[in-house]
């Protein structure tokens, strides 16, 4: 019996590592292919041509007074010829709206809104007299998804970009993200990009100027996690049938596709993943050709939480969101009607992302109990610990290496790194140290998320920010 339990855990461990190995290989292949499809030579052509597809950037803002002006400034600096920025103030209780109106000299105006998706009532629509591309929608609080839906209703362009208001977007992000829509004949309906950690970096005038390691270890741990998740995970999934997540921090969508599935769901805390899963469901279900792509290019920078309690709340929410989405779409699990997404990707998310913390923590517990009761000897425990530690390290190191490769293959597309050698080896050291405490902490936070999900908790939690300006050197 005991050996059978051990065998199950060992099998799980092998499966996880096999998955990561496949993802690594696919990620390297995809990043290499992307090198040929990053059409920097045609940027001037795209920028100067009036037929370039217009994009609406929708940024929902709730209590973002610290970062809102800087973020909107960075949105307006994006290099794209036909851009409209819609900031949706979702009934903020702080001075978010006042700061916006003052900084951009916004005045009330009339505007034609479709009512494709029902939302909470709108209070007022403003337009900036300083930059006519900027619109501000003030509405009653209805949550992030509701604010995004209000933005989708106001969007009159074929492409819509949903972005968090606390995100700094790379100036050339749209030039890169629009490429799959223009050149890829696989009917791209959504494109995501890599989100990077801005903590510790130098931000000036709404632009990230110099990339540095976060000053605090908790920020560094998350930096390694983000690299692993975006460069190894999501890029790798491109070649395994498609991504289930386009980050809520920055994603470019075909508006018609999003409206077709009814926009964002307001009764979930994982609205970004929920939308993409429903897109898969709708398009695969109706037998249409489509693709959801994740680009390895760093397209935006975000501030990650530096307080353990906030981080725990964030991971708790993500896990609840994941559980909600997978439960709602359980019909896709292992269903060949949805192709590789149903047969491979959804089961992988269910097994390793949703149940991963449960299995891993149970594994720790079982091992400790077996050792205490003398059912397993110390050498096995020590060796297995070494094997799992090295395996984790190996994939974390690989994500750092892939980031280095990506940086070399996309020169000029990203801000310079302050002391590259120190940065890279600092990341390696972080990848080593995250296994002692941080990893277990996030596992516990995710377990708490599962527990809260089972109890029906639906809250978002609070996110406190220092603001990019406060971090600028």
């Amino acid at each position: 019996m005991i050996h059978a339990v051990d065998f199950v855990f060992f099998l799980f461990f092998l499966a996880v590592n096999l998955l990561y190995l496949c993802l690594t290989v696919f990620a390297v292949l995809d990043i290499r292919a992307r090198r040929f499809l990053r059409m920097v030579e045609y940027d001037a052509r795209v920028l100067s041509d009036r037929s370039t597809p217009p994009i609406t950037l929708v940024a929902p803002a709730f209590n973002e007074e610290v970062v809102i002006v800087e973020s909107v400034t960075s949105f307006l600096q994006l290099e794209y010829p036909t851009l409209r920025v819609i900031v949706v103030n979702d009934g903020s209780r702080d001075a978010t709206l006042a700061r916006l109106l003052e900084a951009f000299d916004c005045r009330p105006t009339s505007y034609f809104l479709c009512s494709d998706i029902p939302t909470q009532p709108l209070r007022e629509i403003y337009r900036s007299s300083r930059d006519p591309r900027l619109w501000v929608i003030d509405k009653a609080n209805g949550g992030k998804a509701d604010a995004l839906n209000a933005g989708l209703n106001a969007c009159q362009t074929p492409l819509v970009c949903c972005v968090d208001a606390d995100t700094l977007v790379d100036r050339k992000a749209f030039l890169r993200m629009v490429e799959p829509f223009l050149y890829d004949d696989r009917n791209v309906i959504a494109v995501g990009g890599s989100v990077c950690v801005a903590n510790g970096s130098t931000v000036r005038h709404g632009r990230l100027r110099l990339l540095s390691l976060p000053a605090r270890w908790i920020g560094r741990f998350q930096l390694v996690e983000y690299l692993r998740s975006f460069l190894l995970g999501r890029v790798g999934y491109n070649r395994m049938g498609g991504n289930l997540i386009v980050s809520g921090a920055f994603g470019l969508f075909h508006r018609d596709a999003v409206v077709e599935v009814g926009g964002y769901r307001t009764d979930t805390v994982g609205e970004d993943m929920d939308l993409v899963v429903r897109l898969h469901r709708q398009f695969k279900g109706s037998g249409r050709r489509y693709s959801v792509i994740h680009l390895p290019d760093p397209v935006c920078y975000t501030e990650v939480p530096e307080q353990l309690s906030v981080l725990a709340d964030q991971r708790d929410r993500w896990q609840r969101g994941l559980a909600q989405v997978l439960l709602r779409n359980r019909g896709m699990l292992g269903n060949p009607r949805f192709g590789l997404v149903g047969v491979l990707i959804v089961p992988v998310f269910f097994l390793f992302e949703l149940m991963g913390p449960l299995v891993e923590l149970t594994g720790y517990g079982v091992f400790i109990l077996q050792y205490v009761f003398g059912l397993v000897d110390f050498v096995v425990v020590a060796l297995f610990f070494a094997v799992s530690l090295f395996a984790g390290l190996l994939f974390s190191f690989q994500s750092v290496l892939i980031d280095e490769l990506n940086a070399r293959w996309s020169p000029g597309d990203r801000p310079p790194i302050r002391d590259p050698a120190r940065y890279r080896f600092g990341l390696l050291a972080t990848a080593l140290l995250e296994n002692f405490g941080y990893r277990q902490f996030t596992l516990l936070a995710r377990m708490r998320g599962l527990w809260h999900f089972a109890r029906g908790v639906r809250s978002w939690g609070e996110m406190t920010r220092a603001g990019f300006q406060g971090r600028s050197s």
Partner: protein, 373 residues
Amino acid sequence: MTPTISACTACLGPLWANGLYRALLVMAAAEFLLILVQMGWLAGRLLRARTAEREAGRFAEACGPTFLAAVDDPDRRASWLSEASRWKPDVVASFIHGYLLRTEGSYRDALASLYREAGLHLHDIRLLGSRRWPQRVLAMRRLSEVARPEDGIVLRVRPRDPYVARIAALVLLARVGNAEGVKGLLSTFRVSRRLMEQPLHSTLLSLPRTVLAATLDAWDRLPDPVVRRVLLAVAAERVPNACCRWLTTAARDPDPEIRVGACIAAGRLATPESFGILLNLLGDPAWFVRARAAQALGAHGEPSAVDALGYALGDPVAWVRQNAATSLRLLGEEGMGRLRGVADVSYFPLARRMAKMEIGNEEMHAEREGETP
């Protein structure tokens, strides 16, 4: 050394004897080895990157100060090239390419000449024969900045090449001005989605007028209706005279996509013939053709279209009504008068609503113009 090995053997011996221990040991050792290899690779890569950065810096120090003068002045170019020839071609190419991507107009042409004179384009020309399309796309993209007609570029577009490879080839052909090549390439195009029209449209717009006119000769032989529509629309803007002869054919084409192209082209050609074609297409059975015709009549700017557009306000499809209303507004006071008339007395409620909305839009525009500092 030997005592260390024997100590290790003594320590590992009992572990090695057990199958489970042995398996775990091998796994841990393999992973550890891979980690070391990765760290070594990263260190080597960073070292190489630093060396390359330093070399680029040294090149910029040595050749940078005279670079701008060499671009401007052909006499100084030879000495600059001889100085640059002492450096690695990659360093020189990336130095010039950095400027090329950020420059426009005659200065860009001068930079391209310098790039060519340094012989940096020859490698890319050789790559055009590659069997792998990514390599060809990379070469075509670089050559699209520097290639010239005398290079005698021969492009191989294979049936299984993706859309991006065809676009890259078209951009290159547009630069070297090869009409026959463009015709041949366009006949292989398949545009499956609206957004994919943009690169085609912008590349066709960049074709020299003579090449565009020559390409238009083969317009009726192009298989893809979207390509024909885009070509006709671009030609109406760039070579209106050459475009006129296809207008009637396009307006009568059984494919509605082509008739949409006829609407766009006719809207851009301010001729009596094109006006008549637009009036006819306003009664087309396909609603999107009618909508385009209504829109084009506004762009055409002929006041006598007021009656036809007023009639189109009663169209059962909202897009046609909306475009007709917008076009009436664009036609000035006469059009606005018709809109007010429809808003007041029309028996068709949808037409009334659309006219009222457009009148509201006009008031909003006027208000906004008044507000603009």
